[in-house]
Symmetry: D2
Subunit: 345 residues, 4 copies
């Protein structure tokens, strides 16, 4: 059994980790920490876990007393950085769901997150946790930086095209919609049911923190001789709890390519990427609560439109983190992640 | 492995059976029938099952060719009645999720369902599939009549009180709210998102088909010397997909009884009934997609208010049907039903 | 033109007052105050008012400088009490949408609101602003205490029966469901879309602040010789923005009465109460954003069930306040309140 | 008073016309026809109109007996074509909300709507009812073809840029999201609350009927020497009742232009187009139930992103139709359309 610890267990990615890990056959949850809730029962915050988890929240400072093999950070940015040195020194592996170690360019990170990086010495060794690209590196990693929700959906949509040089890398526009849980479990007026339901809007149109991560990820799969990818990322808030859908458009450099075949071949052996039949439309409800990403590719004249649907808290966060854990420990990659979505639901 | 067949696999209770059964370790789904969809892939109707179930819908007339051990009927009323004789003759067990065999009084059934019963000879042997009351009989049953969604929530709320004679049996008023999936997968204008969201209303206030079933179930647990239970049942339509919540009020005959203790003792060994701490309020989201029913008991002067929350498609239908199957086959009762609800979600 | 001021213009009842008053032909809004937002434009908080209202929020202490004829308090309880003396001294009329002056029994108010009343000398003169009962008194009032949202829906449902002594006054059970706006514009986790949608639950089952107000209102219409009305009030939270629906049950003392006729006669001349045809079910969407209350009466054996639907922010708060204003100033009662609900919507 | 008739009064655009027209001070509704509902009261279909409209649905064949001055068609495509000749012969004006006369190229219409046009002789005289472009022609029109919901939102977003030649006309990509009412009042499974809520998806990615209308409208405002506009239109279904939001991206030909000023000047005198401050994000809730369109322009390097929000049933259909009627009859353009959106709501 893998002794796992979760730091920041009171937010939505923490809740999703707990939901999935209590059913994982190879995992023992040894501690769940929350500075604000230390000493209270986890099931008081998450009554859905009654009967599945009998732990109190611990203080983060007591983390190593629980002797974990692996720590998941489900915290806002800045927290993992501050604790990283102690944990690494103890030989404990880390899967960080926050943005702390995703960006390789420290200055770029500091610009977008508006603070000094607290443990830059770990940036280089951090492995970007997108299994469809980095499976081998993840297997050997001590520190995995899990991708953001939007970046996962957009990278999976564009990687097959960029790897083969089929699109103009400067032409990518990614129009995405996210459920409200993407804003976290934060009590803010705009996310009240009374304000966010019966509404649809764009936000951060001037620029969003996930944009540099998307660009970095796309460039990582390009041939070195290609001009580097650029992305215009346009996020929207959708009146639903969970789900991300991205509609990504790019200019084709070769309109004769069999794009459907390109996608099917690229993801033929990926357990969590489903390439739909030509002409299909992914729907977020079909992947709700699962670690799957549905893709559909639509050629439109000299452009291509790729549609991508995932659950922002599962494949976009906690499910993908567990997929990375499975890879690290040599388990079947789908372990603990193989239940279908509810329908209706 | 239990060879199971599902008849009526295109509705919501059929979909829920499929979702749960594909993860059940002791079940093999041998056929899923639908007269209207015969020959098409099940995953075309339910894309969430892609990778979990590789079957085409069959014609119901070919049912026995699949050599099932057990048949689930997830059909409108009237269908199970018509096929019952053939299936029983073949020695195959039946769990019927429809109303066909729930009511012991044939005339009463015919009055509420406005048609002649087509196989009354099976009514007597049918076991009402509420494990919290009928566990032993279910274990030996050849035909289980699964309770309706509302009746489950209301019976679980009142049984502890009626068994001990703590309330006036004529005083029960049950105010319930159901998600829209309770209306089935039927394309009718009132259930469109545009009509049913941002709305709340009562319906069938003059009388609802579940009322006689509730009354029959409550009387079955009363002492013979008590006056028979009556229920004023008041259903409401809630703008959400899943969930039933009942608020049941009755007059106490003994205001000194420790009602919290009565409930805790009654359900101490029930895996799917959770009695919340005094003063609590069940929420449908905490049991969404699970087979659990949350109960809370609130004494209010000379009355008692019992709150009850379940998922109408799981404990209120398909989950309970699988619980019954587990009992019949001597499995751990929670087999295939032991995953927590998603939160948020 | 009536010079009106609104205190507490940043909450939902304030927003609803503003929406309605900008279209009211006899009203000029002279000031809108908010301590926290003083100096910022009202349209920054409420972009829907762009082009309809060109004012900045003022500080409440500057209220009388605007020389209002009438002040609406759309504030939490406690605020109107503190300012009442100054306003009354200036000869300005007050319509208070908060709970400050609704309860005639000062000790009862202090018990439920857990604080000392700050201006008890105004309690007696305050007129309870339910036009269907108090029209004449409202016309002459200097201080109107507007009814709460739940109390309005339940009183309108029971008044015809209590006035004629047709029910047992001790038998009333009122089950109500409210949209989330009933909780105000408060950033709290349980009211986030992610927590409150796809959920249904009871709350305050042990007792709710509106209960004494309901009881006081019902007793006010009873014959003095009747035993005083009691109400078991059971509120629920419905996953929608607006609307209140009450299902009120009582024991009939005379099962032969023509209840439909009783209701139709009682409300024959009420512009905002609509008695639906026998057998009907009110729906909150049909009165959304309007000042109407739909009622339907269903006899069920020796009980009666009355269904009642209103918009909690309109007939349950701001619309009713304007109706009272119209009465005070001798206007047609429907002035500024005569637009139909949107459908769908 | 303008004697108006509505054909097809049972759908959502018909309902919205009725809601708005009953409050219009210069309009008398003389007949509302529906073939399927002829003889039943309009308020039975739309209980929100109780007290506002006392008419039965008439048969469309009796239309002219009501002696209307103006007929609104709120019908599926094909109906207005079939009746046009009779109505025009009687000298009655027509405002058609369907697609029948929007497309000037008959062959193109027949290709997208897959049927022969039944009255092509009226195509040329039909005036496209977008007041922001065609005000003068609308004033003199006998037949107005009202724009579709998506085309209105996208044209208003792009017209200022195309008129001044500021963008590459071949580079336009329009991502739009619509509430479910855009699918009409049709009982189809995908639009049930159980299927459409908690979901987000693209649809018609291969091509949508509104695309040729958008292209025609954009080309109409271009300089003749420009290369003709092309649009990649990508519609999405949003889990809400009402609202359309478009995010339109194009390549700038001159990155130094003051785009904010261009938009503000273009729409300075338009009563129903609101150009938000730089950096803003339109929200569909702020224009819900109103005839306004909110726009915001965001330069992003060598591209421009224009955000556009409207109510699909109001500015996207029935409100715009009434705006056209006001223009035809020389009324203030905002007559009957000047009420703010509800908030929350």
């Amino acid at each position: 059994m893998i002794r796992t610890a979760i730091i920041g267990g009171t937010g939505y990615t923490g809740a999703e980790l707990l939901r999935l890990l209590v059913s994982h056959p190879e995992v023992e949850i040894v501690t769940v920490s929350s500075r604000s809730e230390a000493g209270t029962a986890v099931v008081d915050a998450f009554p859905n876990l009654k009967g599945y988890l009998d732990l109190d929240f611990s203080d983060p400072s007591d983390l190593l007393d629980a002797k974990p093999d692996l720590v998941f950070f489900a915290t806002p940015h800045g927290v993992a950085q501050a604790m990283m040195n102690d944990i690494a020194s103890a030989g404990v592996k880390v899967i960080d769901l926050s943005a702390d170690f995703r960006i390789k360019d420290q200055a770029l990170w500091e610009q977008w997150y508006n603070q000094a990086h607290q443990s830059p010495e770990f940036i280089e060794q951090a492995v970007y946790g997108l299994p469809e690209v980095n499976r081998a590196a993840i297997a050997d990693a001590s520190l995995v930086a899990c991708p953001g929700c939007y970046p996962t959906s957009i990278q999976l949509a564009m990687i097959p095209l960029l790897e083969k040089g089929l699109i103009d890398p400067a032409s990518i526009v990614a129009y995405s919609g996210s459920g409200v849980s993407g804003a976290g479990r934060n009590a803010k007026v705009p996310y009240l049911l009374t304000e966010a339901s019966e509404n649809f809007q764009a936000y951060s149109t001037a620029g969003h923190r996930h944009e540099p991560e998307i660009v970095q990820g796309l460039r990582a799969v390009q041939s070195e001789t290609d001009k580097p990818a650029e992305v215009l990322f346009l996020p929207h808030l959708v009146p639903m709890i969970r789900g991300i859908h991205s509609t990504v458009v790019a200019d084709l450099v070769d309109v004769s390519a069999d794009l459907q075949a390109v996608f099917e071949e690229r993801y033929a052996h990926e357990p969590f990427v489903e390439v739909l039949a030509a002409g299909s439309h992914p729907q977020t409800r079909y992947v709700r609560g699962t670690n799957s990403c549905q893709l559909a590719v639509h050629p439109r004249g000299n452009r291509v439109v790729v549609l991508s649907a995932e659950d922002n808290l599962t494949k976009g966060a906690s499910g993908q983190a567990i997929q990375c854990m499975n890879i690290i420990y040599g388990l079947e990659e789908t372990t603990g992640l193989n239940t279908p979505a509810m329908l209706p639901g």
